[in-house]
């Protein structure tokens, strides 16, 4: 079963706008990771945030984590057409298997 659930399922914005994607999960986690997928092939790791961190930045990416609400958000600032992709959150549950469980993803379209 899916651990993370992204919201929205699809998002369409204009170039230059910010894009915000949310992820909710069910169990206590060690860390949460965000990945990007182009054209239904391999995923690329974007950023990892540990359970004791609240916010992390990497370039135009900003990730927040609220463990009390079991949720995370990914913000892409000043979006570009090249940011068009599907974005997935993934978690590893505390005390369980070391498998990384992915949500269903948010499909982002950035229109030029």
């Amino acid at each position: 079963s899916q651990q993370g659930e992204e919201d929205p399922q699809a998002l369409s914005i204009q170039e230059g706008e910010n894009a915000t994607m949310n992820c909710s999960y069910k169990t206590s986690i060690n860390n949460l990771q965000w990945y990007r997928q182009n054209s239904g092939r391999g995923l690329v790791h974007l950023i990892l945030i540990r359970s004791n961190e609240r916010e992390k930045h990497s370039g135009r990416l900003r990730v927040t984590l609220d463990t009390s609400k079991k949720s995370s958000s990914l913000l892409i600032t000043a979006s570009r057409a090249a940011d068009t992709a599907s974005y997935f959150c993934a978690t590893v549950s505390q005390g369980g298997s070391e498998k990384l469980v992915f949500g269903k993803g948010t499909k982002l379209t950035v229109n030029p």
């Binding site: 860390n31 239904g40 391999g42 790791h45 997935f88 298997s97 070391e98 990384l100 993803g105």
Partner: protein
Amino acid sequence: GAGVSQSPSNKVTEKGKDVELRCDPISGHTALYWYRQSLGQGLEFLIYFQGNSAPDKSGLPSDRFSAERTGGSVSTLTIQRTQQEDSAVYLCASSLDSPGIGHTIYFGEGSWLTVV
């Protein structure tokens, strides 16, 4: 190469045939994962290897699916008596160690399986 390598990249097979999908992880990576992704869907976990052992194979959908890893390196996912619902992209990934302690995983480009 430096990345995770999967073969074949595309496979069309007839219903009822067996298929083998191969994954070459990044050298030195102890953890290896198989996922399945149907068109427009999220990633479905299949199996996780640490070294040659599989501590979690809970995602294998039926006994037609099996996977092995030898020498702590190459892994093969075998699907016996393929069905049309097996059509999907099969993604392999590896990491230096457990993602639970903060290691990220690196994906191959996937093997697209079509069962006709």
